[in-house]
């Protein structure tokens, strides 16, 4: 999977903890790099920060959804933006999850596995709607 964050610390946290769950991690430190890697590497899932220089997370999600090659890659937002309006934005952009910083990196691997299982079971829309209706994992 692909972890996108301009903060080195957040990328490191995700990489180490996801690796412990046996998940391979690609890293992008800005939006442009994220789009490139998504197109070339076709990750199973994108963990996406919102506030990044130049090309932000909202733009990345919008462009991924607009591109046939990347449309099906599930996006989970991982952001410091915690307001309801932000979560609605995440839902509208087709996200399947929304994690608010600070988050618990220890459970991130299980969370990603669970999301992928449910997508496998065809619950993608439920996941999307869950962004605004349900609480956090």
């Amino acid at each position: 999977m692909l972890v996108v964050d301009d903060e080195h610390a957040i990328r490191l946290l995700c990489r180490v903890n996801l690796a412990a769950s046996g998940i391979d991690v690609l890293e992008a430190e800005d939006g442009r790099q994220a789009l490139e890697l998504a197109r070339t590497e076709r990750p199973d899932l994108v963990l996406l920060d919102v506030m990044m220089p130049d090309v932000d997370g909202w733009t990345v999600a919008r462009e991924l959804a607009a591109d046939d090659q990347t449309r099906d890659i599930p996006v989970v937002f991982l952001t410091a933006r915690a307001e309801a309006a932000d979560k609605r934005m995440g839902e509208q952009l087709g996200g399947v999850g929304y994690l608010v910083k600070p988050f618990d990196p220890v459970s991130i691997g299980d969370y990603v596995d669970d999301v992928l299982d449910r997508i496998e079971r065809g619950e993608r829309d439920e996941l999307r709607r869950g962004i605004t209706s349900a609480g956090e994992p």
């Binding site: 946290l13 180490v16 412990a20 506030m51 130049d54 932000d56 608010v100 988050f103 220890v106």
Partner: protein, 697 residues
């Protein structure tokens, strides 16, 4: 003619000549009367004399003076009709002298006198005439019967002629004197009335001016707004009596419906003149009140005048004058003077009131013209009746384009603007409602209150766009600060959670990175918290400076050194410190400013580039430090605004440039507290240069 008779005749002529001289010397009517009735009567060999004159209406003869008659004889003869069957009435009427030689002749001619049983002897009544016009008569009574020879008759007629001329002259002189006094009085009163706009005070002084020159008493009453009678002034020479009068006024307040006196004058606007105050009038007023009777008797009121203060068809008050113990009863001339005085006083009061009203109106207009709130007055139909300059400034609609037109056409958004503004009753507390108003594409926020006064509504508008923007910036700040705090917190929390994970064996390198992460992110967190606190202290003016000599080049070098530890690899830092002077400043604060400026340069150089610190002296001992980057730059319109609190070049934060929006605000505040200046020059897309200038000490 016998020698004795000739001697007598010469004697008489000589006496008459002396009286003529006395008459010529007499100036006042009293002196003339004295000369006629003492010297003249004696010269005429009479034992008594009296002088009567026609009054103003020409129907009554008033006895001016007498000499030699006993009071009982004269009682009841103070005045009598011109038509009465009396010797003097006949003479004044006919203009012909009357010589009665004996009591018998008198009784034959005037049976009325005979029937009264009065005795007497010869009687002469002579007309007093000037230029053919009879104005009175002079009677001379003798203590024996006398035949008047033609020569004696002539002498008496000549005496009457001289007396008439002297009397007429003195009366004319007296009238002129009185006229002069009145004119002087009116001039003084006029000056007084024109001296001040405080008409209450002026009227009080006018009452003082009237006593004792015009009357013994003077009172001025003013009609209040509710028709109540307010006694503004009472004047008498004796302050003790003024106190009495005040007490009387309190104890017997005026009846507004009274048919006589001040109340009547105020109600009808017509003057009232009582040359003598009839006793029955006093009795009526006194009633059965014995104390009041005692007081009124003691006052000894003789005549009164009450004249209205009329101006522009309205009665404003009344001027009352009363004669009592010293002043002779009022004449028609006094009445005319009082009317003239009241007319002038009324004009003065009216002018003062008009001036006050005009001034009040002008002040109200001034207040409306300069008040910061927009004030809009609508009539019952929603037509704009007033639109002050502030309303014009807020709405962008000029007064001349608004007044007289329906407000809905003046400001199309008016309905929407006021839809949520409750109209309160006059005097009730009106809470402003803040609503957006889009004018010419610009969004304003306007706080509106409305008062419904029955015939329309008054709205007060206040442009609170700035406050609203500040409030929005504050809430943006909460969102931004939240992000700025959450990110390092996420790193610290995440690192600790990961380090404590038992199922995970971290490589030595990763473990080291996690510890470093905790340290640096905790430091970052602390710095953001510091900034928020510092901004609060700056706001409260609670920041203290510790001034000491320092080398700005050294401070700059250490800032570059520590920044080098955490900037991205795409950014190169350099220092150009060439012979900068040592200055006196708070080294810690200077470091804070430079760290902020360098952090800012790094933040706004997402594509990397060079960031340079240039430190130099500018000749006058002050030190100039430039922080130059090659980053995003700042659009021209925003260069000053970047120093505003909570201002962010990128409020949406969508470009990921984090920050509290406080950094540059703190920098400028700190620099200015060190008497320095901080400015910025920039070219969008090419970078920015922040210039910090600190003075020599």
């Amino acid at each position: 003619m016998s020698t004795a008779a000739g001697h007598d005749a010469a004697d008489r002529a000589g006496r008459l000549q002396r009286v003529a001289e006395l008459l010529a010397e007499a100036v006042t009517p009293q002196q003339v009367l004295d000369a006629i009735l003492t010297d003249g009567v004696r010269a005429a060999e009479a034992h008594a004399g009296a002088i009567g004159v026609l009054d103003e209406d020409g129907e009554t003869i008033e006895l001016l003076a007498q000499h030699g008659y006993s009071p009982e004889v004269m009682a009841g003869w103070a005045s009598f009709s011109l038509d009465a069957p009396l010797p003097m009435s006949d003479v004044v009427r006919s203009g012909e002298p009357l010589f009665i030689t004996s009591l018998a002749e008198r009784n034959r001619l005037y049976p009325a006198l005979a029937s009264q049983g009065r005795d007497g002897h010869a009687l002469v009544v002579l007309p007093l005439a000037v230029e053919g016009e009879v104005f009175g008569g002079l009677s001379l009574s003798f203590d024996r019967d006398l035949e008047f020879e033609p020569e004696r008759r002539e002498l008496k007629i000549a005496f009457a002629r001289q007396a008439a001329q002297a009397l007429a002259r003195s009366r004319l002189y007296a009238a002129e004197q009185a006229m002069r006094r009145r004119m002087t009085f009116l001039a003084e009163a006029g000056q007084l009335l024109g001296s001040s706009l405080d008409y209450n005070r002026t009227l009080r002084r006018l009452a003082q001016l009237c006593v004792p020159r015009l009357a013994d008493w003077c009172a001025i009453d003013i009609l209040g707004p509710g028709g109540e009678i307010e006694r503004l002034a009472v004047a008498h020479e004796d302050p003790e009596k003024v106190r009495w009068a005040r007490e009387l006024q309190e104890r017997y307040p005026p009846d507004r419906d009274a048919q006589r006196g001040v109340a009547n004058v105020l109600r009808t606007g017509e003057p009232e003149f009582l040359p003598t105050i009839p006793q029955e009038l006093l009795d009526e007023a006194i009633g059965d009140d014995e104390e009041l009777r005692r007081i009124v008797d003691e006052l000894g009121l003789t005549s009164s005048i009450a004249v209205p203060l009329n101006a522009r068809g309205r009665t404003l008050g009344a001027l009352s004058l009363v004669t009592a113990e010293t002043h002779p009863p009022f004449t028609k001339a006094d009445f005319d003077l009082a009317i003239e005085l009241a007319r002038r006083a009324a004009v003065a009061v009216d002018n003062a009131r008009l001036y006050r009203e005009a001034e009040r109106g002008a002040n109200a207009a001034r207040a409306l013209a300069y008040v910061a709130e927009g004030v809009v007055l609508l009539d019952g139909e929603g037509i704009v009746r007033h639109w002050n300059p502030a309303a014009a400034a807020i709405t962008g609609v000029r007064e001349e384009d608004a007044v007289g037109r329906p407000v809905s056409t003046v400001v199309p958004a008016w309905e929407a603007l006021t839809a949520h503004v409750p109209l309160v009753a006059p005097g009730a507390a009106a809470r402003p409602v803040t609503v957006p108003l889009v004018l010419d594409g610009r969004e304003h926020w306007v706080a509106v209150t409305g008062v419904d006064f029955g015939q329309g509504a008054v709205y007060a508008l206040q442009d609170v766009s700035e406050e609203h923007a500040l409030e929005k910036a504050r809430s943006d700040f909460v969102a931004t600060a939240s992000h700025e705090l959450r990110t390092p917190l996420a790193a610290v929390y995440g690192a600790v959670r990961t380090l404590r994970r038992r199922d995970l064996e971290l490589s030595e390198d990763d473990g080291e990175q996690f510890l470093e992460m905790i340290e640096s992110e905790a430091t970052r967190l602390a710095r953001i918290v510091d900034q928020i606190l510092l901004a609060g202290q700056l706001d409260a003016d609670a920041v203290e400076l510790e001034l000491a000599e320092c080398d700005p080049s050294e401070v700059a070098a250490s800032v570059i050194e520590s920044a080098g530890l955490h900037v991205p690899e795409t950014i190169s830092l350099s220092l150009d410190a060439d012979g900068a002077p040592r200055i006196s400043c708070d080294e810690h604060k200077l470091r804070q400013v430079l760290v902020n400026l360098v952090d800012n340069a790094v933040k706004y150089s997402p594509g990397g580039g060079r960031i340079e610190l240039r430190v130099r002296g500018n000749g006058n001992g002050s030190c100039v430090i430039d922080v130059v980057d090659e980053g995003l730059g700042i659009p021209p319109g925003e260069r000053e605004r970047v120093f505003e609190k909570f201002y962010r070049l990128d409020p949406g934060l969508t470009h990921g440039v984090g920050g509290s929006g406080l950094g540059l605000y703190i920098c400028r505040e700190l620099v200015e507290r060190m008497d320095g200046r901080l400015s910025v020059d920039s070219e969008p897309g090419r970078g920015s240069r922040f210039t910090l200038e600190l003075p020599a000490r």
